[in-house]
Amino acid sequence: MKIAVKINDVQREFSITPGETLLELLRREGYKGVKKGCETGDCGACAVLLDGRAVNSCLVLAAKVDGHTVVTVEGLEKNGELAPLQEAFLDTGAVQCGYCTPGMLIAATDLLAHNPDPSEEEIKEAISGNLCRCTGYVKQVEAIKLAVQRMRGGEDA
């Protein structure tokens, strides 16, 4: 079957099988920032924005996104400039092996779009579905706080 999806601001058409997942489609089409981890919804490495909300792309059928909008980590930068969240992850040292980073960035993007001034608790809750085996989550929480601060106009802590 054919589907039409807006991915990272580009309108695209794909031929898919009705039973394949969005994760499989995206990786086949070269969106390799979308990571394949558990494929059971447990690790969050495959997270993308679907109509603006962060979801596990391994738990979504590609057929379901026909007519909808998807943003992958590749779509977070604008005109060659990293998004404030991405900058903050780099500056804070929140990236070690980096496997969890795309999913974390997507989850945090959803959070800040709906709650521009989150508490530490709310930040932790927002990334509670994203597993990281390298860091202790401390740096990611700091990075998100830094991004919030910068986006609200203040500079470094």
């Binding site: 494929e39 919804g41 679907l50 979801v55 596990n56 391994c58 059928l61 959803d110």
Partner: protein, 281 residues
């Protein structure tokens, strides 16, 4: 993982069409799709009902109606639910999975798959929710009957869930025991207590993930009847709940541990209800 049996994905325009598509062959409804992917069946046709007008939240203290395809995130962010029954539904949903799943998961999908450790079912039992479904005709049944009669295993389309009006002097609470907030419950507990002139006039207590699906504890709730919700009465009800609940072993926890949790859980939800009633008096 690709669902290799699936050869057709359809979006019906109305409920009648959706139901006839479901009757014809090996077909399955898909809403959020989480369990459709994680627990595959031989279904060849998937019927996506998320484009039907089955989503939304209406009401207030006088009762709330929720459409089947409403997501858990939509429920959590709803001012209607924040104002209903001291926000107990939001208190529960914050402990369900993580935002990544709550953005997909629908209330209808959750009730139809009916996982024994479901946090929703435990709370909805004490709220006294009614489930509406379509099988050619519209039906409305209390949620305990919905599961007692295994209606969730039949070929039906769940259309929504209704919560009753809340009287003054009523409060509810929910608690989930799990290794991490994201993890599935080792056991969950909910209670609702109605009071008048400082005495309990009605109460419901439920425990789920025992590891079987949630059930109302009728004898434990009866301990509260006509009494003020004092520390002593709360302790008695928690003991009665431990005697009444049927608990068992599974990979998550032992029966002994679960029996302890029933006592602690019921004690805590009732204590929280007590604080909430005092706070609103």
């Amino acid at each position: 993982m690709t669902l290799t049996k699936v050869s057709e994905f359809v979006r019906p325009r109305n409920l009648t069409e959706a139901f006839s598509l479901l009757e014809e062959k090996k077909a399955r409804i898909i809403a959020g799709g989480i369990d459709v992917i994680l627990f595959p069946t031989p279904a060849e046709r998937l019927i996506d009902i998320t484009a039907l007008p089955l989503s939304g939240i209406e009401g207030g203290e006088e009762g709330v109606s929720i459409g089947a395809t409403t997501t858990m995130t939509e429920l959590l962010e709803s001012p209607v639910l924040r104002g209903y029954l001291n926000g107990a539904v939001c208190e529960m949903l914050r402990q369900v999975a993580s935002p990544l799943q709550r953005n997909l998961a629908t209330v209808g999908g959750s009730l139809m798959i009916g996982h024994p450790w479901s946090d929703l079912i435990t709370l909805f039992l004490v709220i006294g929710a009614d489930v509406t479904y379509f099988d050619g005709e519209e039906h409305e049944v209390p949620i305990d009957r919905f599961y007692a009669e295994n209606i969730h295993r039949r070929r039906v389309i769940l259309t929504g869930i209704n919560f009753p009006a809340v009287r003054r002097g009523t409060a509810a609470a929910f608690i989930k025991f799990s290794r991490t907030a994201f993890d599935i419950a080792l056991l969950n507990c909910a209670a609702l207590v109605e009071t008048a002139d400082g005495r309990c006039t009605a109460a419901r207590i439920a425990v789920g993930g025992t590891p079987r699906r949630a059930k109302l504890l009728v004898r434990a709730a009866a301990e509260l009847a006509g009494k003020p919700l004092s520390e002593e009465v709360v302790v008695q009800a928690a003991r009665a709940a431990q005697d009444e609940a049927e608990v068992g072993d599974d990979i998550r926890a032992s029966a002994d541990y679960r029996r302890e949790l029933v006592g602690v859980g019921v004690y805590r939800v009732l204590s929280r209800i007590r604080e909430r009633l005092e706070g609103s008096a």
